[in-house]
C-alpha cells in the first residue's frame, strides 16, 4: 500500500514570508496528524483531524498557523508569517481508527517530512 506522501521535502524562506505544506495520507485513514519536530527534540502535535474535523489544535499557534483537511483526505498546513523559530521538520501522519473504544488504534504511519528553514 502507498505510504503517507508529503511535499515539498525541503523549503527555505525568509522570515515574514508564507509557506504551505501538503500531505496525502494513506487511503482510508480517518485520523491525520501534523507534528512539528525541532532539531534534537521529539515530535510536537500541532493539529489532529478526525475525518475532516479538527479534534485537537491546542498547540497550534493560531495567529500564524492554519490547517485544513479537504473532504477528509488531503491536508495542508500553512504558516503566515513565518518566524525564525518555525525552522523545523513538519511531519504528517495518519492512522486507521476502526470505531469506538481505545482498542481501535493500531499505529501511526509517517511521511518523510518537510524540512523548513526560515532565514
Amino acid at each position: 500500500e502507498a505510504g503517507v506522501a508529503q511535499s515539498p521535502r525541503y523549503k527555505i524562506i525568509e522570515k515574514r514570508q508564507s509557506v504551505a505544506f501538503w500531505c496525502n495520507p494513506i487511503s482510508g485513514h480517518a485520523t491525520l496528524y501534523w507534528y512539528q519536530q525541532i532539531l534534537g527534540q521529539g515530535p510536537k502535535l500541532l493539529i489532529q483531524f478526525q475525518n475532516n474535523g479538527v479534534v485537537d489544535d491546542s498547540q497550534l499557534p493560531k495567529d500564524r498557523f492554519s490547517a485544513e483537511r479537504l473532504k477528509g483526505v488531503d491536508s495542508t498546513l500553512k504558516i503566515q508569517p513565518a518566524k525564525l523559530e518555525d525552522s523545523a521538520v513538519y511531519l504528517c501522519a495518519s492512522s486507521l481508527d476502526r470505531g469506538q473504544g481505545g482498542s481501535r488504534f493500531t499505529e501511526a504511519f509517517f511521511g518523510q517530512g518537510t524540512r523548513l528553514t526560515v532565514v
Partner: protein, 113 residues
C-alpha cells in the same frame, strides 16, 4: 508539553551489545508505542503495548510496561550498526470518540561496529 520522557538522552554501544532505554509518562494511557527515526527520515512504528499488557516481544525488541509506575522500557538485543537511530516512546490516550498520540524527547542510539 510532551507526555513522555526518555532516559537516557543518548546511548553509545558496540555491535552485539544490548541497548535499553526507558520512558516515563504522566497520565493514564490506552497504549504505549515505540518508534524509530533514522536521520532525516520519518518515524517508523516498532511495537505497541496495550495498558493491560506487561511485556511484548517482536524480533530483537522487548518492551515492558508498568502502568503503576507509568513507565516503559525498550530493549534491543544483539544490536547492529543498522540500529543506529533515535527512538521515541509515544503514549496514546483516548476520549469517548478520539485519541491523542504524544511523543517523548527521544533517545539517540549509536551502534559502532
Amino acid at each position: 508539553s510532551q507526555q513522555g520522557e526518555e532516559d537516557p538522552q543518548a546511548l553509545s554501544i558496540q555491535e552485539g551489545e544490548n541497548a535499553t532505554m526507558n520512558c516515563s509518562y504522566k497520565t493514564s494511557i490506552n497504549n504505549l508505542q515505540w518508534y524509530r527515526q533514522n536521520s532525516g527520515r520519518g518515524l517508523v512504528h516498532l511495537i505497541l503495548i496495550r495498558s493491560n499488557e506487561r511485556e511484548k516481544h517482536s524480533g530483537r525488541l522487548r518492551v515492558t510496561l508498568d502502568t503503576s509506575k507509568k513507565s516503559s522500557s525498550l530493549l534491543i538485543t544483539a544490536s547492529r550498526a543498522a540500529d543506529t537511530a533515535s527512538y521515541f516512546c509515544a503514549t496514546y490516550m483516548t476520549t469517548d470518540s478520539w485519541g491523542k498520540l504524544q511523543f517523548g524527547a527521544g533517545t539517540q542510539v549509536v551502534v559502532t561496529p
